[in-house]
């Protein structure tokens, strides 16, 4: 149903590549600066890994339910599509809630982005991902309206597909945040 060689999908794909490059710069900064704690809190002291695991599982599952939503779209099942996307939204919102709680907890402990270069790069990298998640959630709501109000013709399906692609890529980037920030950052 979706022609991935379609011009609009390809254009959006190229845009996603540029977004990945922005993340690459933020990752490079984090790696270079992760030891620059300025005698402040370190990763080991701050990170609460069980909630990081919870966030990871929430986002991974949301990527799965998003795929199920697209499956429903390809079968022209509007109601199932909306249900799966609502579930995806809830999982994504829960992820965001946990992340914001983590940020608030750090700030309360005095480990805000102002404390050291390490914390600046942590908040920026993870925060930028969180900002993308928020945009993805908003986009998801708009697409749910589209599914409800418009017929599932090719150009509608293409738009919903692009939103799903964006959402999958957010989990793709999170794999590396989980590994490099919370994993390697914690181990080193």
């Amino acid at each position: 149903m979706i022609d991935v060689s379609d011009t609009k999908v390809f254009g959006f794909w190229v845009y996603l590549m540029t977004d990945l490059i922005i993340f690459a710069v933020l990752f490079a900064c984090f790696i270079v600066l992760h030891g620059n704690t300025f005698n402040g809190p370190t990763a080991k002291e701050l990170f609460h890994l069980p909630s990081v695991l919870a966030e990871t599982l929430l986002l991974l599952t949301s990527s799965f339910t998003c795929a199920l939503g697209m499956l429903a779209i390809s079968r022209q099942q509007k109601n199932w599509a909306i249900i799966w996307f609502i579930i995806t939204f809830i999982l994504g919102a829960a992820f965001l809630y946990l992340e914001i709680s983590e940020f608030a907890e750090f700030v309360a402990k005095g480990a805000s982005w102002k404390r050291s270069a390490f914390l600046s790069s942590f908040f920026t990298l993870v925060g930028t991902h969180g900002l993308h998640i928020s945009i993805g959630l908003l986009w998801m709501v708009v697409m749910m309206f589209r599914i409800a109000l418009r017929p599932l013709v090719e150009h509608s399906v293409s738009r919903i597909f692009r939103m799903a692609l964006f959402w999958h890529f957010l989990d793709f980037v999170w794999i590396f945040i989980f590994t490099i920030v919370y994993g390697i950052g914690y181990l080193l």
Binding site: G11, M17, I21, S121
Partner: protein, 655 residues
């Protein structure tokens, strides 16, 4: 509460020095003059419907060119002020304070790179790339309009400090950290730099994606990659660089702004920031950027040389590979901008060697151009003048570059006037001459009449001689130890005569610019004498010459079959005549959304600069609301049926 409405704005932001008052008055006068003209001639509607909301790449291209020309005057004003200051400031402070001088060369660099050269190139690409590949429009007509208006909003923001704020960044065009951090630069100048770059960077990125997808997906059937004209190939390579490099600029300037606005510590001196990382990241963007500026010029000259030598470009395949190689290598050399920062011999030699390697594909191109001319029927029209000037300057500037590619040699001339002379040779001699040549070459296609040849050649001589007189002294000064960016120096150094010579060269260049202004005015007045009635004034070789001059908004009524990278030459050899059977054409509507989104983006940028929370929230909502509104608009295309196409085509043939 105060923060919500006013942020950091105070009464100090009102203009109160001579240059901010002067700039404000000038901007207001020009705006009024335009407004009064439009009102008296009742052309507001025409302007809005025919031009501002247009999604036709030819119109957007023309708007880019006009915008770039306006910004060019601003950049040259800065240049003139620098030249004057440096000529008189031997053993004196000159007429500018140190801080003001620093603001001038900073804005000169940013304006010339972002708003002049890039805008000129996007303008020329908008005009010509769709025509060369047999397409009717770009892949994303709306994004084309949005990208243009975002660039304009960036241009507005970079000039806004005259009216509100009072000072621009004094940090150099790349806002080096930690000098650009709050500790040393608490005023909003650096923030204006950051956000105007973010806005225009977003516009450039959208245009880059657009052209990349257009060239890859919208070529006429039968036009394989190896049948694309060289200007299109070089544009493709430049677009690959844009999508790879501009995200780095976006991220890096964002980090600098986060340091300033949120007291983060990426590049600050305290709290374990790493200032060297800033230079690493910004040059990671900066080096591909300068190749973005020159690679399209190479493409333009390839077209010009083969057209005016009436010969196929020598070594088409090697030219394609040269362009691709330069593109790939340009992403591996950025450290040569900071050999002196102390990365050590292993790092420096790696980057030095790769930098020298770029000379090889550059040399391949130079030799191919010369081989193309060899035994060709050369017609020395004015584009060829610009080409020969370019060839001389490219070789000189290139050799200076190879000299600096060696770290030990670079240690001597880093940040001296030798470096300044080198990059101006490349930007003026390659990029700017390419733009001038391209404008003269393609002007009749876009506007239907040729530019005055004699005046264009006169302009060339002013520019060419002027450039030598203005910049050769700078090479010498660099070897003599003169650093860049100094606002005064001791007369005992003996530098002043050379600075004065450079200023004389600048006067020649000013004559060249004056000639070009006169050229445009005269050519418009005399246009009936230089009409291009055939669509092919230069005996061209590529597909753009197969349309009418100017082309109808849909470019081609029928797209001809593609045979080689010189389709039109092949068509002419076979005795081509315009077809009279027509088909329905899908077209894109005009839309004002690009302007509305850019206005909100401008307000958002302004809000970020002055940290006005209310404005930030409201304009973010504005941008998002526009985008959501746009996403529900499913009817942006309409069909022009074959009968209407026939009527338009007949009107061209009737004349």
């Amino acid at each position: 509460m105060r923060d919500f409405f006013f942020g950091k704005l105070t009464w100090d932001a009102v203009p109160h020095v001579w240059y901010t008052i002067g700039g404000t008055v000038f901007i207001i006068l020009v705006a009024f003059a335009i407004g009064i003209y439009l009102t008296l001639t009742r052309r507001w509607g025409w302007l809005w419907n025919e031009w501002l909301t247009s999604t036709d790449p030819k119109k957007i291209g023309t708007m880019y060119m006009i915008f770039a020309s306006v910004m060019f005057f601003r950049g040259m004003l800065d240049a003139g002020m620098v030249w004057l200051q440096q000529s008189i400031a031997a053993d004196s402070q000159g007429y500018l304070t140190a801080d003001h001088f620093q603001q001038i060369f900073t804005s000169h660099g940013d304006i010339m790179v972002f708003f002049v050269t890039m805008s000129f190139f996007f303008g020329l690409m908008n005009w010509i790339v769709p025509l060369q590949i047999g397409a009717r429009d770009l892949a994303f007509p709306f994004l084309n309009s949005l990208g243009f208006w975002l660039t304009v909003s960036g241009g507005l923001l970079i000039n806004l400090f005259f009216v509100i704020g009072g000072n621009f960044a004094n940090t150099g065009w790349l806002a080096i950290a930690p000098f650009s951090e709050l500790e040393f630069n608490p005023s909003v100048g650096v923030d204006y730099l950051i956000w105007s770059l973010q806005l225009s960077g977003a516009g450039s990125l959208l245009a880059g994606i657009n052209f990349l997808v257009t060239i890859i997906k919208k070529r006429a059937p039968g036009m394989t990659l190896m049948k694309m004209p060289l200007f299109t190939w070089n544009s493709l390579c430049a677009m690959v660089l844009i999508i790879s490099a501009f995200p780095v600029l976006t991220a890096t300037t964002l980090l600098l702004w986060l340091d300033r606005a949120f007291e983060m510590h990426f590049f600050t001196i305290g709290y374990a920031g790493n200032q060297m990382m800033y230079w690493n990241l910004i040059w990671m963007w900066g080096h591909p950027e300068v190749y973005i500026l020159v690679i399209p010029a190479f493409g333009m000259f390839s077209e010009i040389v083969s057209t005016f030598s009436q010969k196929k470009t020598s070594g088409y395949v090697s030219m394609v590979w040269a362009a691709i190689t330069i593109t790939m290598l340009s992403f591996l050399v950025w450290l040569h901008h900071f050999f002196v920062m102390g990365a050590g011999p292993s790092v420096n030699s790696f980057f030095g060697i790769v930098t020298m390697l770029i000379a090889i594909p550059a040399g391949v191109q130079v030799f191919n151009w010369i081989f193309t001319m060899y035994k060709g029927k050369i017609n020395l029209a004015s584009p060829m003048y610009w080409f020969i000037g370019f060839l001389v300057l490219f070789i000189i500037g290139g050799m200076a570059g190879i000299f600096m590619a060696s770290p030990p040699a670079d240690f001597q001339v880093h940040n001296s006037l030798f470096l300044v002379a080198h990059f101006h040779t490349m930007i003026v001699g390659v990029a700017l001459f390419g733009i001038f040549a391209g404008i003269t070459f393609w002007f009749p296609k876009i506007f239907g009449f040729k530019l005055n040849e004699r005046l264009d050649k006169q302009a060339f001589w002013f520019w060419f001689v002027g450039f030598f007189v203005a910049f050769m002294p700078l090479y010498l000064l660099g070897f003599m130890g003169a650093p860049r960016r100094i606002d005064h120096y001791d007369a005992a150094t003996g530098w002043q005569p050379l600075y004065i010579t450079a200023s004389i060269g600048f006067c020649f260049i000013l004559c060249g610019i004056a000639t070009q202004v006169y050229l445009v005015i005269e050519s418009i007045k005399q246009r009936k004498h230089h009409l291009d009635t055939t669509g092919d004034p230069w005996n061209g070789r590529t597909l753009e010459w197969a349309t009418h001059s100017p082309p109808p908004f849909y470019n081609f009524a029928i797209v001809p079959p593609i045979t080689s990278h010189e389709v039109f030459w092949d068509m002419k050899k076979k005795g081509w005549k315009r077809e009279k059977t027509y088909e329905d054409i899908e077209c894109f509507k005009n839309t004002g959304m690009g302007i509305y989104i850019s206005i909100f983006a401008f307000l958002l940028g302004f809000g970020f600069v002055w940290q006005i929370i209310g404005l930030i929230i409201l304009s973010s909502i504005g941008v998002i609301a526009c985008i959501i509104r746009l996403s529900f608009d499913d009817e942006m295309e309409y069909v022009l049926c074959a009968e209407d196409v026939a009527k338009i085509e007949e009107s061209y043939i009737r004349g």
